[in-house]
Symmetry: C2
Protein backbone atom coordinates (compact mmCIF):
# COMPACT_ATOMS: atom_id res chain seq x y z
CA UNK A 1 0.00 0.00 0.00
CA UNK A 2 1.73 3.06 -1.33
CA UNK A 3 0.52 5.49 1.36
CA UNK A 4 1.86 3.26 4.15
CA UNK A 5 5.19 2.71 2.38
CA UNK A 6 5.61 6.47 1.97
CA UNK A 7 4.79 6.99 5.64
CA UNK A 8 7.36 4.37 6.68
CA UNK A 9 10.03 6.05 4.55
CA UNK A 10 9.13 9.49 5.87
CA UNK A 11 8.59 8.78 9.57
CA UNK A 12 9.98 5.31 10.34
CA UNK A 13 13.29 5.13 12.18
CA UNK A 14 16.03 2.50 12.01
CA UNK A 15 17.86 2.50 15.36
CA UNK A 16 19.76 -0.68 14.37
CA UNK A 17 19.48 -4.31 15.36
CA UNK A 18 16.83 -5.08 12.77
CA UNK A 19 14.35 -2.73 14.45
CA UNK A 20 11.95 -0.57 12.47
CA UNK A 21 10.50 2.03 14.80
CA UNK A 22 7.12 3.38 13.73
CA UNK A 23 5.84 4.62 17.06
CA UNK A 24 4.98 8.05 15.75
CA UNK A 25 2.17 6.79 13.55
CA UNK A 26 1.43 3.12 14.29
CA UNK A 27 2.04 1.75 17.76
CA UNK A 28 2.30 4.58 20.27
CA UNK A 29 0.99 7.65 18.50
CA UNK A 30 -1.60 6.56 15.95
CA UNK A 31 -2.31 8.38 12.68
CA UNK A 32 -6.08 8.01 12.39
CA UNK A 33 -6.30 9.23 8.80
CA UNK A 34 -3.78 6.53 7.83
CA UNK A 35 -5.69 3.98 9.93
CA UNK A 36 -8.87 4.77 7.96
CA UNK A 37 -7.02 4.22 4.69
CA UNK A 38 -5.57 0.95 5.96
CA UNK A 39 -8.98 -0.18 7.21
CA UNK A 40 -10.49 0.45 3.79
CA UNK A 41 -7.68 -1.49 2.15
CA UNK A 42 -8.24 -4.49 4.45
CA UNK A 43 -11.95 -4.34 3.58
CA UNK A 44 -11.10 -4.39 -0.12
CA UNK A 45 -8.64 -7.27 0.22
CA UNK A 46 -10.97 -9.44 2.30
CA UNK A 47 -14.30 -8.38 0.76
CA UNK A 48 -14.93 -11.91 -0.56
CA UNK A 49 -14.63 -13.51 2.87
CA UNK A 50 -17.89 -12.46 4.59
CA UNK A 51 -16.02 -11.71 7.80
CA UNK A 52 -18.23 -11.83 10.92
CA UNK A 53 -15.68 -10.73 13.50
CA UNK A 54 -12.21 -9.23 13.80
CA UNK A 55 -9.74 -10.67 16.30
CA UNK A 56 -6.59 -8.91 17.48
CA UNK A 57 -4.34 -8.90 20.53
CA UNK A 58 -3.70 -6.10 22.97
CA UNK A 59 -2.45 -3.50 22.78
CA UNK A 60 -1.25 -1.99 19.54
CA UNK A 61 -3.48 -4.01 17.21
CA UNK A 62 -6.67 -2.68 18.79
CA UNK A 63 -6.77 0.72 17.11
CA UNK A 64 -6.42 -0.43 13.53
CA UNK A 65 -8.77 -3.38 14.17
CA UNK A 66 -11.52 -1.06 15.44
CA UNK A 67 -11.10 1.44 12.61
CA UNK A 68 -11.08 -1.39 10.04
CA UNK A 69 -14.24 -2.98 11.50
CA UNK A 70 -16.23 0.03 10.32
CA UNK A 71 -15.50 -0.93 6.73
CA UNK A 72 -16.69 -4.50 7.34
CA UNK A 73 -20.19 -3.35 8.29
CA UNK A 74 -19.30 -2.68 11.94
CA UNK A 75 -18.51 -6.30 12.81
CA UNK A 76 -17.49 -6.74 16.47
CA UNK A 77 -13.81 -6.64 17.39
CA UNK A 78 -12.43 -8.98 20.05
CA UNK A 79 -9.00 -8.40 21.52
CA UNK A 80 -7.13 -11.26 23.16
CA UNK A 81 -5.86 -10.32 26.60
CA UNK A 82 -2.27 -10.85 27.59
CA UNK A 83 -2.50 -10.85 31.34
CA UNK A 84 -4.72 -12.70 33.75
CA UNK A 85 -7.36 -10.17 34.80
CA UNK A 86 -9.83 -10.73 37.61
CA UNK A 87 -12.76 -9.74 35.46
CA UNK A 88 -12.05 -12.08 32.55
CA UNK A 89 -14.24 -15.16 32.28
CA UNK A 90 -12.71 -18.27 33.76
CA UNK A 91 -13.90 -20.06 30.66
CA UNK A 92 -11.39 -18.99 28.04
CA UNK A 93 -9.47 -20.21 25.03
CA UNK A 94 -5.80 -19.64 25.69
CA UNK A 95 -2.46 -20.15 24.03
CA UNK A 96 1.15 -19.35 24.87
CA UNK A 97 2.99 -16.86 22.69
CA UNK A 98 6.67 -16.00 22.81
CA UNK A 99 7.55 -12.33 22.43
CA UNK A 100 11.01 -11.88 20.96
CA UNK A 101 10.78 -8.11 21.50
CA UNK A 102 10.26 -8.60 25.23
CA UNK A 103 12.03 -11.98 25.38
CA UNK A 104 9.36 -13.76 27.40
CA UNK A 105 6.39 -16.06 27.07
CA UNK A 106 2.93 -14.80 27.79
CA UNK A 107 -0.49 -16.34 27.73
CA UNK A 108 -3.15 -14.77 25.54
CA UNK A 109 -6.78 -15.47 26.32
CA UNK A 110 -10.16 -14.99 24.69
CA UNK A 111 -13.43 -15.66 26.48
CA UNK A 112 -15.28 -18.63 25.00
CA UNK A 113 -18.36 -16.39 24.81
CA UNK A 114 -16.91 -14.32 22.01
CA UNK A 115 -15.79 -16.80 19.36
CA UNK A 116 -18.12 -19.45 18.03
CA UNK A 117 -18.00 -22.13 15.32
CA UNK A 118 -20.25 -19.89 13.19
CA UNK A 119 -17.67 -17.12 13.07
CA UNK A 120 -15.53 -16.22 10.09
CA UNK A 121 -12.64 -14.46 11.77
CA UNK A 122 -10.27 -11.92 10.29
CA UNK A 123 -7.13 -11.55 12.39
CA UNK A 124 -5.66 -8.05 12.27
CA UNK A 125 -2.41 -6.88 13.81
CA UNK A 126 -0.07 -3.94 13.40
CA UNK A 127 3.13 -5.95 13.01
CA UNK A 128 4.16 -9.39 11.82
CA UNK A 129 7.70 -10.56 12.46
CA UNK A 130 8.26 -14.17 13.53
CA UNK A 131 4.50 -14.67 13.55
CA UNK A 132 4.02 -15.80 17.14
CA UNK A 133 1.09 -13.51 17.93
CA UNK A 134 -0.83 -14.29 14.72
CA UNK A 135 -0.20 -18.03 15.07
CA UNK A 136 -1.48 -17.83 18.64
CA UNK A 137 -4.68 -16.15 17.47
CA UNK A 138 -5.09 -18.76 14.72
CA UNK A 139 -4.73 -21.46 17.40
CA UNK A 140 -7.46 -19.79 19.46
CA UNK A 141 -9.81 -19.68 16.45
CA UNK A 142 -9.20 -23.37 15.81
CA UNK A 143 -9.88 -24.26 19.45
CA UNK A 144 -13.23 -22.49 19.01
CA UNK A 145 -13.95 -24.28 15.74
CA UNK A 146 -14.22 -20.92 13.98
CA UNK A 147 -13.09 -20.31 10.41
CA UNK A 148 -9.98 -18.17 9.97
CA UNK A 149 -10.93 -16.00 7.00
CA UNK A 150 -7.48 -14.49 6.82
CA UNK A 151 -4.79 -12.44 8.45
CA UNK A 152 -4.36 -8.72 7.75
CA UNK A 153 -1.12 -7.06 8.84
CA UNK A 154 -0.02 -3.45 8.57
CA UNK A 155 3.75 -4.02 8.44
CA UNK A 156 5.35 -7.41 7.83
CA UNK A 157 9.06 -7.83 8.38
CA UNK A 158 9.69 -10.04 5.39
CA UNK A 159 13.00 -11.41 6.60
CA UNK A 160 11.73 -12.90 9.86
CA UNK A 161 9.68 -15.74 8.42
CA UNK A 162 6.30 -15.12 10.07
CA UNK A 163 4.54 -14.53 6.77
CA UNK A 164 5.76 -17.85 5.39
CA UNK A 165 4.63 -19.73 8.52
CA UNK A 166 1.09 -18.38 8.08
CA UNK A 167 0.94 -18.95 4.31
CA UNK A 168 2.21 -22.52 4.87
CA UNK A 169 -1.00 -23.14 6.85
CA UNK A 170 -3.00 -22.27 3.74
CA UNK A 171 -4.29 -19.07 5.31
CA UNK A 172 -4.78 -15.97 3.20
CA UNK A 173 -2.41 -13.30 4.47
CA UNK A 174 -2.24 -9.72 3.28
CA UNK A 175 0.38 -7.31 4.57
CA UNK A 176 -0.02 -3.66 3.60
CA UNK A 177 3.74 -3.21 3.59
CA UNK A 178 6.46 -5.87 3.59
CA UNK A 179 9.85 -4.52 4.60
CA UNK A 180 13.34 -5.93 4.31
CA UNK A 181 16.56 -4.36 5.44
CA UNK A 182 19.42 -3.79 3.03
CA UNK A 183 22.51 -5.93 3.74
CA UNK A 184 24.22 -3.28 5.84
CA UNK A 185 20.99 -2.67 7.79
CA UNK A 186 21.04 1.05 7.08
CA UNK A 187 18.00 1.17 4.80
CA UNK A 188 14.77 -0.64 4.18
CA UNK A 189 13.30 -1.80 0.94
CA UNK A 190 9.78 -2.95 0.19
CA UNK A 191 8.84 -6.37 -1.13
CA UNK A 192 5.73 -7.01 -3.22
CA UNK A 193 3.25 -9.63 -1.98
CA UNK A 194 3.83 -12.86 -3.90
CA UNK B 1 -26.27 8.61 26.94
CA UNK B 2 -29.41 6.61 26.53
CA UNK B 3 -28.05 4.06 24.05
CA UNK B 4 -25.16 3.16 26.37
CA UNK B 5 -27.44 2.94 29.42
CA UNK B 6 -29.74 0.59 27.54
CA UNK B 7 -26.77 -1.52 26.46
CA UNK B 8 -25.52 -1.75 30.06
CA UNK B 9 -28.97 -2.85 31.26
CA UNK B 10 -29.29 -5.38 28.46
CA UNK B 11 -25.79 -6.89 28.35
CA UNK B 12 -23.95 -5.82 31.52
CA UNK B 13 -23.49 -8.42 34.23
CA UNK B 14 -23.26 -7.99 38.00
CA UNK B 15 -21.20 -10.87 39.38
CA UNK B 16 -21.07 -9.21 42.83
CA UNK B 17 -18.38 -7.34 44.75
CA UNK B 18 -19.21 -4.01 43.13
CA UNK B 19 -18.18 -5.29 39.72
CA UNK B 20 -20.02 -4.31 36.54
CA UNK B 21 -18.93 -6.64 33.76
CA UNK B 22 -19.29 -5.21 30.26
CA UNK B 23 -16.81 -7.35 28.41
CA UNK B 24 -19.26 -8.33 25.73
CA UNK B 25 -19.44 -4.83 24.28
CA UNK B 26 -16.80 -2.57 25.84
CA UNK B 27 -13.54 -4.06 27.06
CA UNK B 28 -13.02 -7.48 25.51
CA UNK B 29 -15.50 -7.76 22.67
CA UNK B 30 -16.14 -4.27 21.31
CA UNK B 31 -19.41 -3.12 19.73
CA UNK B 32 -18.18 -0.87 16.94
CA UNK B 33 -21.60 0.61 16.13
CA UNK B 34 -21.89 1.66 19.80
CA UNK B 35 -18.32 2.98 19.73
CA UNK B 36 -19.21 5.20 16.75
CA UNK B 37 -22.19 6.60 18.64
CA UNK B 38 -20.04 7.21 21.72
CA UNK B 39 -17.34 8.85 19.61
CA UNK B 40 -19.88 11.24 18.12
CA UNK B 41 -21.18 12.06 21.57
CA UNK B 42 -17.68 12.87 22.85
CA UNK B 43 -17.19 15.12 19.81
CA UNK B 44 -20.45 16.93 20.61
CA UNK B 45 -19.59 17.35 24.30
CA UNK B 46 -16.05 18.64 23.67
CA UNK B 47 -16.70 20.52 20.40
CA UNK B 48 -15.81 23.86 22.03
CA UNK B 49 -12.36 22.68 23.14
CA UNK B 50 -10.40 22.59 19.85
CA UNK B 51 -8.83 19.28 20.81
CA UNK B 52 -5.52 18.60 19.03
CA UNK B 53 -4.83 15.11 20.36
CA UNK B 54 -6.51 12.27 22.25
CA UNK B 55 -4.64 10.47 25.02
CA UNK B 56 -5.63 7.11 26.47
CA UNK B 57 -3.93 4.19 28.21
CA UNK B 58 -3.56 0.65 26.98
CA UNK B 59 -5.42 -1.52 26.42
CA UNK B 60 -9.18 -1.14 26.58
CA UNK B 61 -9.30 2.63 26.05
CA UNK B 62 -7.60 2.42 22.67
CA UNK B 63 -10.58 1.29 20.61
CA UNK B 64 -13.01 3.98 21.66
CA UNK B 65 -10.26 6.64 21.52
CA UNK B 66 -9.44 5.76 17.89
CA UNK B 67 -13.08 5.65 16.82
CA UNK B 68 -13.75 8.96 18.59
CA UNK B 69 -10.74 10.66 16.96
CA UNK B 70 -12.49 10.42 13.60
CA UNK B 71 -15.16 12.82 14.86
CA UNK B 72 -12.51 15.31 16.01
CA UNK B 73 -11.13 15.73 12.48
CA UNK B 74 -8.82 12.69 12.71
CA UNK B 75 -6.62 14.08 15.47
CA UNK B 76 -3.81 11.68 16.45
CA UNK B 77 -4.36 9.27 19.33
CA UNK B 78 -1.55 8.49 21.76
CA UNK B 79 -1.80 5.57 24.13
CA UNK B 80 0.28 5.47 27.30
CA UNK B 81 2.17 2.20 27.67
CA UNK B 82 2.00 0.20 30.84
CA UNK B 83 5.11 -1.91 30.56
CA UNK B 84 8.69 -1.09 29.79
CA UNK B 85 9.16 -2.01 26.15
CA UNK B 86 12.51 -2.11 24.38
CA UNK B 87 11.25 -0.01 21.52
CA UNK B 88 9.85 2.85 23.60
CA UNK B 89 11.90 6.04 23.67
CA UNK B 90 14.11 6.38 26.70
CA UNK B 91 12.90 9.94 26.91
CA UNK B 92 9.42 9.59 28.35
CA UNK B 93 6.95 11.23 30.70
CA UNK B 94 5.95 8.66 33.30
CA UNK B 95 3.76 8.33 36.32
CA UNK B 96 2.81 5.56 38.72
CA UNK B 97 -0.79 4.37 38.77
CA UNK B 98 -2.36 1.95 41.22
CA UNK B 99 -4.76 -0.60 39.75
CA UNK B 100 -7.33 -1.69 42.31
CA UNK B 101 -8.66 -4.32 39.89
CA UNK B 102 -5.25 -5.96 39.65
CA UNK B 103 -4.07 -4.76 43.09
CA UNK B 104 -0.69 -3.51 41.94
CA UNK B 105 1.19 -0.41 40.91
CA UNK B 106 2.30 0.05 37.38
CA UNK B 107 4.21 2.73 35.54
CA UNK B 108 2.57 4.35 32.52
CA UNK B 109 4.76 6.11 30.00
CA UNK B 110 4.36 8.44 27.04
CA UNK B 111 7.24 9.40 24.78
CA UNK B 112 8.12 13.08 25.09
CA UNK B 113 7.93 13.27 21.29
CA UNK B 114 4.16 12.92 21.29
CA UNK B 115 2.88 15.52 23.74
CA UNK B 116 3.91 19.14 23.48
CA UNK B 117 3.01 22.41 25.25
CA UNK B 118 0.95 23.36 22.17
CA UNK B 119 -1.39 20.39 22.58
CA UNK B 120 -4.94 20.55 23.84
CA UNK B 121 -5.44 17.02 25.07
CA UNK B 122 -8.67 15.12 25.50
CA UNK B 123 -8.21 12.09 27.74
CA UNK B 124 -10.53 9.21 26.84
CA UNK B 125 -10.98 5.95 28.72
CA UNK B 126 -13.53 3.17 28.86
CA UNK B 127 -13.94 3.12 32.65
CA UNK B 128 -13.57 5.51 35.55
CA UNK B 129 -13.68 4.14 39.08
CA UNK B 130 -11.22 5.53 41.64
CA UNK B 131 -9.69 7.66 38.90
CA UNK B 132 -6.09 6.50 39.11
CA UNK B 133 -5.60 6.01 35.37
CA UNK B 134 -7.13 9.35 34.37
CA UNK B 135 -5.24 11.21 37.09
CA UNK B 136 -2.03 9.57 35.85
CA UNK B 137 -2.72 10.78 32.31
CA UNK B 138 -3.50 14.28 33.62
CA UNK B 139 -0.16 14.23 35.45
CA UNK B 140 1.61 13.27 32.21
CA UNK B 141 -0.05 16.15 30.32
CA UNK B 142 1.03 18.57 33.04
CA UNK B 143 4.62 17.32 32.92
CA UNK B 144 4.52 18.09 29.19
CA UNK B 145 3.02 21.53 29.77
CA UNK B 146 0.04 20.58 27.60
CA UNK B 147 -3.49 21.76 28.24
CA UNK B 148 -5.95 19.13 29.48
CA UNK B 149 -9.07 19.99 27.48
CA UNK B 150 -11.13 17.44 29.34
CA UNK B 151 -11.74 13.84 30.24
CA UNK B 152 -14.28 11.68 28.39
CA UNK B 153 -15.31 8.40 29.98
CA UNK B 154 -17.67 5.71 28.73
CA UNK B 155 -18.78 4.32 32.10
CA UNK B 156 -18.14 6.04 35.42
CA UNK B 157 -18.75 4.16 38.64
CA UNK B 158 -20.27 7.06 40.54
CA UNK B 159 -19.75 5.58 43.99
CA UNK B 160 -15.97 5.20 43.76
CA UNK B 161 -15.03 8.87 43.83
CA UNK B 162 -12.87 9.15 40.72
CA UNK B 163 -15.22 11.60 39.04
CA UNK B 164 -15.11 13.94 42.02
CA UNK B 165 -11.31 13.82 42.15
CA UNK B 166 -11.11 14.97 38.52
CA UNK B 167 -13.81 17.64 38.84
CA UNK B 168 -12.03 18.97 41.96
CA UNK B 169 -9.05 19.76 39.73
CA UNK B 170 -11.31 22.03 37.67
CA UNK B 171 -11.16 19.69 34.69
CA UNK B 172 -14.23 19.21 32.48
CA UNK B 173 -15.32 15.59 32.78
CA UNK B 174 -18.08 13.94 30.81
CA UNK B 175 -19.11 10.36 31.45
CA UNK B 176 -21.55 8.83 28.99
CA UNK B 177 -23.07 6.69 31.74
CA UNK B 178 -22.66 7.05 35.50
CA UNK B 179 -23.69 3.93 37.40
CA UNK B 180 -24.40 3.30 41.04
CA UNK B 181 -25.36 0.04 42.69
CA UNK B 182 -28.53 -0.26 44.73
CA UNK B 183 -27.97 -0.83 48.46
CA UNK B 184 -28.17 -4.61 48.18
CA UNK B 185 -25.80 -4.59 45.17
CA UNK B 186 -28.22 -6.56 43.03
CA UNK B 187 -29.08 -3.79 40.58
CA UNK B 188 -27.57 -0.70 39.06
CA UNK B 189 -29.12 2.70 38.65
CA UNK B 190 -27.96 5.60 36.53
CA UNK B 191 -27.02 9.02 37.83
CA UNK B 192 -27.33 12.18 35.78
CA UNK B 193 -24.22 14.34 35.32
CA UNK B 194 -24.35 17.25 37.76
Amino acid sequence: MKLLEEKILKDGKLPGGGILKVDNFLNHQMDIELFCQMGQEFARLFAHKNVTKILTVEASGIGVACIAAQYFGNVPVVFAKKSEAKNLDADVYSTVVHSFTKDKDFTVRVSKNYISPDDKILIIDDFLAVGEASLGLIDICRQAGAEVSGVGICIEKGFQGGGQRIRDLGIELHSLAIVNFTDDGSKIEFVKES
